[in-house]
């Protein structure tokens, strides 16, 4: 029997974010029909792109103008789509927006949901996600009439598969939320720093940074990477940066996806705070520094020469 799979497409200024294509690739399986759900976008504009990844149905959801940003209204609309088209599995991105949307859908449907997953076996309903601050990988068996999967952004390599898609219109303009109203939606520009313990990327400085001013270079780089700046105990002890930035046994314990250590020797105490990081890139002049033999990539160089170049190359994106 054909299974209908719903994929919630995340758009940025009317365009499909690149990371959706990996999610579509993940959702594709034998005997399935892929329904892409686009909320408040012109399906005609995104049709061709979605077709090149195997989407056969595009559900264009329209909402009342003043309800478009309301996560409750969006959730209700998607629930209606799920019911209308007999959808048994829903894929969405585990982004900030997804974290505010997918659990609302799951809660209202009393459906199972696994967030931040990086592998899904739709035949056996098995999902993989990480638990315990990135220390373990959990395989979860999801059960129920509707299964919802929050897919970790960029976790899946997109693979093309051509198809022809039919556009279906869903009118959700009568949907409202009485008890939650949106006052303001986030501006894209913000000066607030990302918290060290929550950052996906941390760029940290140690003795090799030489002084406090040089940490502004790391801040610039962190901003480009949407990450946070950390420091070794030495840098804090020297008064270059505040204690709140210290990573290590006596500072914060962090598990970012990427940890870039600049001029940090990598003492046992420092490792105690960052050893659960996904990828460790070490930049150090001293090739004998402990961190050089306990990382994924190392650069034998002065971080003060590499980081400004890195900022330049990130800027070109």
């Amino acid at each position: 029997m054909m299974k209908n799979i719903g994929i919630i497409i995340e758009l940025d200024k009317g365009r499909i974010k690149e990371t959706n294509f990996g999610m579509i690739t993940l959702a594709r399986a034998k005997d399935t029909e892929l329904f892409a759900v686009v909320v408040d976008a012109d399906a005609e504009i995104v049709k061709e792109e979605l077709e090149s990844f195997g989407i056969t149905k595009i559900v264009e959801v329209s909402l009342a103008e003043d309800q478009q940003k309301n996560p409750v209204v969006r959730a209700k609309a998607i629930i209606n789509v799920i019911k209308e088209y007999n959808i048994c599995a829903v894929f969405g991105l585990s982004t900030a927006m997804g974290k505010d949307l997918l659990p609302r859908i799951a809660a209202l449907l009393k459906a199972s949901l696994v967030m931040d997953c990086y592998a899904v076996d739709i035949k056996q309903n098995l999902v993989k996600t990480s638990q315990y601050s990135g220390k373990t990988s959990a395989t979860i068996k999801a059960a129920g009439d509707v299964l919802i999967f929050g897919v970790r952004p960029n976790a899946i390599e997109p693979v093309k598969a051509s198809s022809l898609a039919e556009i279906l219109k869903f009118d959700g303009t009568s949907l409202i939320s009485k008890d939650l109203k949106v006052i303001k939606t986030g501006d894209t520009d913000t000066s607030e720093n990302i918290s060290l313990v929550e950052a996906d990327v941390i760029i940290a400085g140690g003795r090799g940074m030489k002084n406090g001013e040089n940490f502004t270079i790391l801040s610039k780089c962190a901003k480009k990477l949407n990450g946070a700046v950390g420091a070794s105990r030495v840098a804090v002890d020297a008064g270059w940066v505040p204690y709140s930035m210290q990573v290590g046994q006596t500072g914060e314990k962090v598990s970012p996806l990427v940890y870039i250590a600049c001029g940090i020797s990598g003492s046992v105490q420092h490792f105690a705070g960052m050893k659960t990081s996904g990828m460790v890139i070490a930049i150090n002049k001293d090739e004998n520094a402990a961190i050089m033999s306990n990382c994924d990539y190392y650069v034998k160089a002065d971080a003060l020469e590499i980081i400004p170049e890195l900022i330049k190359h990130l800027g070109n994106d």
Binding site: V236, D237, Q249, T250, G251, G266, V268, Q269, N288
Partner: protein, 445 residues
């Protein structure tokens, strides 16, 4: 051909480095071998690096006081050798010893008088003036929070403290070992890292050298065991050495906590090192305006003897591995919370778990061994950090004297201090001694 040195020192921590430094100054060609990546990265890095003079014996006080003089003029000790990592800093906060039933403070005071250590006697008003957030009730005996009596309202007051203006801590113990390594290298000493010793070789009943894990053999007629928590394993590698020690060493797991100072109290800049036997804690300021809280190992606390390799690999489980436990976190922080009632105690433990190299009577073994050419500076048990430069000199003289024919077991070396006008009987630290029941059997020494 194996490489050959006059002396191989196993370990490059804060005791191993000064031994190399002093031997090199005497003209010995030395090599330090350490399984870690750099000097001071082992249990030295986990040390609280406290420099204080109060010990239960006059010799203990004298040695610590002598050590203090080295820390005070660190550059001079290093012979002005520079370190690309910078120099460790000695922070002279002054040192408060609370008069309590937990310390034999009268003995300490007598020892201070005998050695000539400066001190002041403070009454409770003076303590409050100097440490405003303190509550000076007596909480003795030291208990654990699992014991309901721990939370009983105290009734009696303390009786003041002895304040020693000469005392404090070293801000970065690993760096201090690194500094000494650089100073030693300037005198010709060599160091190799990421090199694990698996055998101490002997020939014809004399020390011949070491073998590394990768099979490399290095020769030397002198081998010194400064293996820290691994010391007992190194002694077992050398023929007849472990069997010839009446005093043995073992690795003891030890937790040190970091708890933020109460709001409005600048402990980092205004605070003192304080030994408080009444609550079984000692404290010193730490980066981030936090209290570093050490434990004086009260009898009610569990003692966990562990295999050092398993420990550092994170094995053994709760209370045995290298992760802080909530039970001990609460014990140490709440004890300090009795003394500092405005101290806020976070839920997540923060601090250091490391190993003490502990002897049967908590007094170190600075000695030769039953194998000619094999020496040991072991069992340094968490209170010898401050003495490291003194021990370096003393061990070098002991080694030199023994190599020149001294029968140290029969006629123990008398070591003459460099700064303090005293000598000490190195035989006090003999491996052959009976357990010294005058010891505090704790970190207090």
């Amino acid at each position: 051909m194996n490489k050959k040195y006059d002396a191989i020192i196993i370990g490059a921590g804060v005791i191993g480095c000064p031994i190399a430094y002093e031997l090199s100054k005497m003209g010995y060609k030395t090599l330090n071998v350490d399984k870690l990546a750099d000097a001071g990265e082992g249990s030295t890095a986990g040390s609280c690096a406290i420099v204080r003079a109060h010990y239960s014996t006059a010799d203990g006080v004298a040695m610590a006081y002598e050590g203090f003089k080295y820390w005070l003029d660190w550059k001079k000790y290093l012979d002005n050798v520079e370190d690309e990592k910078g120099l460790a800093r000695y922070m002279n906060t002054g040192s408060i010893l609370i008069k309590s039933q937990g310390h034999d403070w009268k003995k300490v005071q007598k020892n201070y008088d005998e050695v000539g250590v400066q001190y002041e006697e403070w009454d409770n008003d003076k303590i409050i003036e100097m440490v405003p957030p303190a509550d000076l009730h007596e909480f003795w005996p030291v208990m654990r929070p699992e014991d309901p009596k721990f939370f009983d309202e105290p009734t009696k007051e303390l009786e003041g403290a002895i304040f020693c203006p000469e005392g404090g801590y070293v801000n970065d113990p690993a760096l201090s070992a690194h500094n000494i390594m650089r100073a030693a290298e300037a005198k010709g000493a060599e160091f190799i890292f990421n090199a694990e010793v698996v055998d101490v070789r002997s020939e014809n009943g004399k020390t011949a050298g070491i073998t590394l894990k990768d099979g490399t053999q290095i020769d030397a007629g002198i081998v010194v065991n400064v293996g820290g928590p691994h010391s007992f394993m190194v002694n077992k590698m050398a023929e007849g050495v472990w069997e010839g020690c009446n005093i043995k060493t073992k690795a003891l797991r030890h937790e040190v906590m970091y708890c933020p100072s109460p709001e409005g109290y600048d402990y980092l800049n205004d605070g003192y090192h304080m030994s408080d036997g009444d609550i079984g804690c000692y404290v010193r300021p730490e980066v981030g305006n936090t209290f570093l809280i050490g434990s004086e190992d009260p009898d009610c606390d569990p003692q966990e003897w562990v295999d050092p390799d398993d420990f550092y690999a994170g094995k053994g489980g709760h209370g045995k591995d290298n992760v802080l436990t909530d039970e001990q976190w609460k014990a140490q922080c709440y004890r300090l919370g009795q003394r500092i009632p405005t101290l806020q105690v976070p839920n997540q433990p923060k601090g250091v778990v490391d190993l003490y190299d502990c002897s049967d009577d908590w007094i170190p073994v600075y000695d030769k061994s039953d194998l000619p050419g094999f020496y040991m500076a072991i069992g340094t048990s968490g209170n010898q950090y401050k003495n490291a430069p003194v021990v370096g000199r003393m061990m070098a003289e002991l080694i030199d004297a023994c190599e020149k024919g001294l029968d140290h077991d029969k006629e123990p070396l008398q070591y003459k201090f460099q700064y303090t006008d005293r000598s000490t009987d190195v035989g006090f630290f003999s491996r052959k001694r009976e357990i010294n029941y005058n010891s505090s059997f704790s970190v207090n020494g």
